[in-house]
């Protein structure tokens, strides 16, 4: 268990809701949920959530900290924004789910090998290298994330797709040797490093 997780448990022992309000993106909205269930019924991947958003909100208020933060439910969010569009009370549900997912990851509580959690990090690392996404490397990293053997299997399964994309000039093998980017990735990395430091210091201050 991470140190950060331990200190958060100690600090917010009496209220997981308060912890969420203080540390999760848009977390201050959680108490506004009126438990109608429209979000859960509107989610395109709803049937795959262990706990759909409505339940997550109630579980937060019922102090079910481990069950919420250790759940892979939030990682089922496709960012379709159906829940936001339909919530009668205007909760920014998509962002709260993203926020909970990030918070659980920060505390080291996300289930291991959760594919969307992994993809999300791979995507971020990919774009941070040159400031723009390198799609070829993104595809390769995803195929090979579980090791070489799995990677070859995935690559074989997607071989035809890759060939089709190259034929349509929508995939470029030369991207492996560079690819698109901003003029000074170093400057962009400096900006984002600073933003990360600011965000980090806020979480530390909340400890």
């Amino acid at each position: 268990m991470s140190d950060l997780n331990t200190s958060m448990i100690e600090k917010y022992r009496s209220s997981f809701l308060k912890e969420v309000e203080a540390n999760v993106e848009e977390g201050e909205w959680v108490k506004m949920c009126m438990q109608c269930g429209v979000c859960s019924g509107s989610c395109p991947l709803g049937k795959h959530w262990d706990h759909p958003p409505q339940e997550i909100f109630m579980m937060i208020r019922a102090n079910k900290r481990e069950e919420v933060l250790g759940s892979d439910s939030m990682w089922m969010c496709t960012s379709c924004y159906n829940c936001i569009a339909r919530c009668p009370r205007g909760l920014p549900i998509t962002h709260i789910m993203h926020g909970l997912a990030v918070y659980s990851k920060r505390l080291g509580l996300t289930p291991k090998k959760q594919p969307t959690a992994e993809f999300s990090q791979i995507f971020w690392d990919n774009l941070m290298k040159k400031g723009r996404v390198n799609e070829l490397k993104l595809g390769l990293s995803m195929n090979f994330k579980d090791g070489f053997g799995e990677g070859v299997k995935n690559a074989m399964a997607n071989q035809k797709l890759g060939q089709n994309m190259m034929k349509a000039k929508r995939m470029n093998p030369m991207e492996a040797f560079g690819g698109h980017g901003v003029k000074s990735p170093g400057d962009l990395q400096k900006i984002i490093k600073k933003a990360q430091e600011i965000e980090e210091s806020k979480i530390q201050a909340a400890k």
């Binding site: 971020w124 994309m165 349509a168 400057d187 984002i192």
Partner: protein, 299 residues
């Protein structure tokens, strides 16, 4: 009509050799015909899309978009920002709204940007290209430019998620938006306003991480288009386009279906209808060729 000048945010997937490079080509062709000048934001960066949040968190993610807006305000001063990609538009507009509402976040983003001498003010309007079409050009304006009506084509308008929610297009409903159908009609084809999957999610970025769950949804989107007698699907979103087009083989293999549905952009339709060549409409960039459009373009 007076020339429209916009500060253009093309986005990663539109670049040469990337998944929606054909969107960019056709959008440029469309804009030439509509007298819209696109001034690319110099040195723009990725917006983080809808999946970067898990790696980037909140402020770093918002700062990515703040940098693009700051660059636009510096180099394309006074111009509205326009994106063709749904996720680019959403991220940029979301960042602008969040930094506007939250004074501390505004200060923090600027503190980060100052590391590279940039300053974010957040004055520029952030729009999607379809807003420009609907609000500035208008369906009649589109109709006026049509040289080769796409007669006899039945086209399902697949709006998808992020061009539609949470911001959407002014005056349109989240549940049953009509503008894409109106564009289809304006270029002389037959729309399917009751295409029931018009705002169904395709899985978005989860098509990579949860392929089976996503492909089940994509199957429904394609099936409904066939059931409605569509010759092809049109969409305003690069990820919707890719997801519904490139996995058809894998879906056919898994479900025993025989899908071969062309998926094009509104800009593809308009480029062809405005009389431009198949190459200018980037019809060579499709995995599943839109043969009927090729025939009209080559006429």
């Amino acid at each position: 009509m007076a020339k429209i000048e916009l500060s253009f945010y093309p986005g990663c997937s539109s670049q040469k050799g990337a998944t929606s490079s054909n969107y960019l080509v056709s959008a440029q062709t469309m804009c030439e015909e509509l007298d819209i000048q696109l001034n690319e934001i110099p040195d723009w960066n990725c917006c983080g899309a809808s999946i970067g949040y898990g790696g980037g968190g909140e402020l770093p993610r918002l700062t990515l978009s703040a940098r693009n807006i700051a660059l636009s305000e510096e180099h394309n001063k006074g111009q509205e920002i326009v994106a063709t990609c749904a996720a680019c538009w959403l991220s940029t507009r979301e960042a602008k709204e969040r930094l506007h509402e939250d004074e501390q976040m505004f200060k923090d983003a600027n503190a980060a940007l100052s590391e590279a001498g940039l300053k974010y003010e957040g004055e520029a309007n952030v729009r999607h290209m379809v807003e420009v079409l609907v609000e500035d050009i208008g369906f009649d304006g589109i109709k006026e430019k049509v040289k080769k009506p796409l007669e006899g084509l039945k086209i399902a308008g697949y709006v998808g998620c992020q061009t539609n929610r949470p911001f959407g297009i002014a005056g349109e409903s989240f549940e049953n938006p009509m503008y894409l159908d109106n564009i289809v009609d304006a270029v002389g084809a037959e729309s399917i306003p009751t295409y029931e999957k018009k705002v169904q999610c395709c899985g978005g970025a989860l098509a990579f991480s949860e392929p089976e769950k996503s492909q089940e949804m994509i199957k429904g989107i394609l099936e409904a288009a066939y059931d409605n007698g569509a010759d092809m699907i049109v969409t305003p979103c690069p990820l919707c386009q890719a997801n519904t087009e490139i996995y058809q083989d894998q879906i056919n293999e898994k479900y025993g279906t025989k899908f071969k549905m062309p998926i094009v952009y509104y800009s593809t339709l308009m480029s062809v209808a405005f009389g431009r060549s198949a190459k200018d409409a980037a019809l060579d960039g499709h995995v599943i060729p839109a043969k009927q459009l090729e025939e009209i373009a080559n006429k």
